[in-house]
Symmetry: C2
Subunit: 209 residues, 2 copies
Amino acid sequence: MPRPARVSPERILAAAAVEFAAHGYAGAGVDRIARRARVNKAMLYYHFRSKQGLYRALLRDTFGRAADRLRASAATGTTPAEQLDLVIVGIAAFIQQHRHFAAIMLREIAERGAHLDAETLAALAALPRIVAAIIQRGVDEKAFRPVHPLAAYFSMLAPMVMYLAGAPIRERLSAEHFGGGPMLDHDAFVRYIQDSTRRALDLHARPTR
Amino acid sequence: MPRPARVSPERILAAAAVEFAAHGYAGAGVDRIARRARVNKAMLYYHFRSKQGLYRALLRDTFGRAADRLRASAATGTTPAEQLDLVIVGIAAFIQQHRHFAAIMLREIAERGAHLDAETLAALAALPRIVAAIIQRGVDEKAFRPVHPLAAYFSMLAPMVMYLAGAPIRERLSAEHFGGGPMLDHDAFVRYIQDSTRRALDLHARPTR
DNA sequence: GTCTATACTTCGATAGAC
DNA sequence: GTCTATCGAAGTATAGAC
């Protein structure tokens, strides 16, 4: 009895994730979001002030969940190398659980962060910070060679986001242009990223040039 | 004197690249494209049939130029490892010369290739094929360890696209959240991708686990 | 081939009743 | 808090003169 009938905002956010991921900020329709959430459009404007307000609320929520997930993943590891392995599978799992996260990130990058306010930027900044802290510790403990943490961060995050988000295009390509070739499955790709990340940071590997 | 006044289509394509990169397919305004190209809107519809026709013509053109560039880069190398180094700098240079290529690619991935027709897909497929051929040759010559070529392709392309396209967001972040930290410059990042690619493919590196 | 003017549609946002 | 009805802006596309 305490709650009157508050089911709307969560459903609206979920519907907004689908719509913004599918059509982008400009292409998204507030009408479609409301219909998908089984909520009246005026109700949507009542909870969130505008299309922009809804979009930003969604991004803050999504980035916050992602950061929580990465921190939890890292916490279960002991050595920095282990932690990076765990963070990598954590990222992959998060993207799979929030199928629209990747598309939203890709679009926001392409739009030069046009819709990000200071609060959303702060939530986003947590992600590279978590990874950078692990790498820095590895460098300090002489387990990793000294690399720029941001370079390593992009090298593990970007391929996974693009690979997972690019699956639909890849399937059309493999049918028409790479017929019959052995397809790359999800788990194998995640292991490749783990391996190449370890190799990139390995202190003892001989120089390659 | 020979040419009557044919300057339009190229200018339209260039203007469309800016507009589509900045606002996405749905967000792009045909009015703005026409104005930026200093061409009448009706003229634009005369040369290209529709907004979609213009968009596809732009993508085919851009992917075609990228493939030409990669082939030219690879041709100047001798060993597969050398060729990959050259391809990596070729990709980086291409993105810098066509500043909007990265954003358009990112958006198209996010939109699940919704605007790609068969012809555009064929032009896109050339890119992974060029890289895969180099890697396959390296594996055949026992210079590389056997990896899935597509995994390696994504691991070199994705970070560069995302890093270069993400520069605007990164600058806002570094100012507000990573104040004073040593910034990662472009050339250093390209070298990191070259290094990590070599390390990932290195046949003789000891196993890391 | 090039321009002006406009028809037609879609969509974000709000007013106002309940 | 929830709904219906609608306004006003913006945008794609075309008709038709030159």
